[in-house]
Amino acid sequence: MRVIVAGGGVVGAQIARALVASDHQVIVIENESARAAILKAEGLEIVTGNASVATSLEAAGALRADVLVACTERDSENLVISVMAKRHLEIPRVVARINDDANRWLFDGSWGVDAAISSAGALVALVEQTGN
């Protein structure tokens, strides 16, 4: 699959590495040039820019991407990136990271989000599974 990872922080970089390891074609969009340089040195494919801007997404090959992962450290950015990816660029599948579980109510189809996950939410689900 062709995957765009929007946000090259700790989480974004790990997602990118894991996807590359399973033979997916991955491009990371990262706004901070210092971070972008580190990821580039590591061998990841990087576009430096604001991921909610059409030009950055287009540079990352959004028009032929199968999936976009919105995983910056800001929930509002993840929402704007998701709606841009889905509505404007018609990327078939958009998955998003929720940083603060209190914002979960916003991560739905109206923002172009097909699936969203927060680390807190995932851990809670695991705890509840154990209880059953």
């Binding site: 801007v53 059409a54 929930d75 509002s76 929402l79 704007v80 709606v83 603060d100 916003l106 109206s110």
Partner: protein, 219 residues
């Protein structure tokens, strides 16, 4: 009118203070409770310390009863999200927001949000003032695309009809001040020497209007 303002920075606090002094019911939301100190002591409105993306925070600011919502936080993406939530989830009839970075403008426009882009506005305004000193706009609309300018009628234009000044989509006479009284003229009205005329003009046609008034019609 009940107005909810997100962001109690310089702009948010100043807007809140002004609306409050005009008798409007204002609620300000800021994630940093210390920003409340920016509001004047006389401020009678509400202040909610919290994240404007949280439903409970928005509800505490009585967003469901709001007539207007203005998002002026320092984060452009938050302003877009908050504005859209106010409009689509809480059906606030009048929603505005601010963007610092013009890069966010296409997506906010795509979502149909009315956002003021501060950098663009500053540049347009300064550019205008640099370029067109003699005919200072009294008022600027949008991001400077349309302007309200006022000029007295020079003697050589006395007797011209309003219709002769109007250029569709570019220049429109909207008001005439004469002897201390103001009227909204029909196109057949005639201008007299000394009249103070208000024009709405597109920024690209300001030069043309200036030429009209500056003597290119002189015979």
């Amino acid at each position: 009118m009940h107005v909810v303002i997100v962001g109690c920075g310089r702009s948010g606090a100043a807007l809140a203070a002004r609306l409050d002094s005009e008798g409007e019911a204002v609620h300000v939301i800021d994630v940093d409770g210390a920003t409340r100190a920016r509001l004047p002591v006389s401020f009678r409105g509400g202040f909610v310390a919290g994240d404007a993306m949280r439903r409970a925070v928005l509800e505490e600011a009585h967003i469901a009863q709001a007539d207007a919502f203005v998002s002026l936080s320092s984060s452009d993406s938050l302003n877009i999200v908050a504005a859209r939530v106010a409009r689509d989830t809480f059906r606030v009839p009048h929603v505005l927001g601010r963007l610092h970075n013009v890069e966010w403008h296409p997506i906010s426009a795509h979502l149909g949000l009315q956002m003021v882009t501060t950098v663009q506005m500053t540049v347009d305004r300064i550019h205008l003032l640099l370029q067109h000193r003699p005919l200072d706009p009294e008022m600027v609309f949008g991001n400077g695309e349309s302007l309200l300018v006022r000029s007295s009628v020079p003697d050589y234009l006395a007797g011209r009809r309003v219709a002769e000044f109007n250029v569709e989509g570019e220049i429109q006479v909207v008001e005439i001040g004469r002897g201390g009284h103001s009227t909204i003229p029909g196109t057949a009205a005639t201008l007299r020497e000394g009249d103070l005329v208000s024009f709405v003009v597109s920024s690209g046609s300001l030069e043309r209007l200036r030429n009209f008034l500056g003597g290119s019609w002189k015979q």
